[in-house]
């Protein structure tokens, strides 16, 4: 059975939330399109 503890889930959620906001911000301010 696959088990993810609530604490681990909160950690993953926090990481993904920060990563989403940071990536979107960086994409707006840096050229990541590879030109």
């Amino acid at each position: 059975m696959i088990h993810t503890s609530n604490k681990l889930a909160v950690g993953i959620w926090g990481f993904l939330t920060l990563a989403t906001v940071a990536t979107a911000w960086l994409a707006e301010h840096l050229n990541i399109a590879g030109e």
């Binding site: 059975m1 696959i2 088990h3 993810t4 503890s5 609530n6 889930a9 909160v10 993953i12 959620w13 993904l16 939330t17 989403t20 906001v21 990536t23 979107a24 994409a27 707006e28 050229n31 990541i32 399109a33 030109e35």
Partner: protein, 190 residues
């Protein structure tokens, strides 16, 4: 005789097989998108620049948060706590609804501006990827509703636990696919 298991049980294996197969199909679309993008860089960059990144960020945060509530719901079910399960499941459903509403608003804005699948190849991929993902999202919302209603009459840590776990895994797949679709469509631009 006590049973020892070293891997996922047969029901969870079923949904994992489906998830891997489904994600393989999406992976082919992702590769197709990147190949076509490299062939039409200017068209794809111009079209991507017209997308609203805020919609993408909002949808990502909504799906990730809904996924978190789903973990809480599944863990509550494993402990046999039906009330907590139902509360977290409703939370996952309501937050998930935000994704659906935002997507409908976004599609409506595009279609009223005459931006369709036929506009260019970027939008062909945009509608194909987000449309296929949206159908998966609707399927997930339906599955959440089914296990929610079933939990009213069945113990959550009995036979219902397998569909609950499978729905949870499926919901995380919907989340994971969006985590690839979002940067690919909304962020890859100059």
């Amino acid at each position: 005789m006590p049973q020892t298991t070293t891997g996922p049980d047969i029901h969870v294996s079923g949904i994992l097989t489906f998830i891997i197969a489904d994600m393989a199909v999406f992976a082919m679309l992702f590769v197709g998108f990147m190949v076509e993008r490299s062939a039409q860089l200017e068209v794809f960059n111009a079209a991507a620049a017209a997308l609203n990144v805020n919609f993408g960020v909002f949808n990502t945060l909504v799906l990730v948060t809904s996924g978190l509530f789903m973990v809480f719901a599944v863990n509550a079910a494993k402990m046999g706590n039906a009330v907590a399960f139902q509360r977290w499941l409703i939370a996952a459903f309501i937050v998930g609804l935000g994704f659906g509403i935002a997507k409908v608003i976004e599609y409506h804005g595009k279609i009223t501006n005459d931006i369709t699948m036929l506009t260019n190849d970027f939008y062909m991929f945009y509608y194909a990827l987000t449309g296929a993902h949206f159908l998966h999202f609707l399927g997930g919302m339906a599955a959440i509703s089914v296990i929610g209603f079933r939990s009213l009459n069945e113990p959550v840590d009995g036979k219902l636990l397998n569909p609950i776990e499978s729905t949870g895994l499926y919901w995380h797949m919907v989340d994971l696919l969006w985590l690839v679709i979002f940067p690919m469509l909304y962020l890859l631009r100059p």
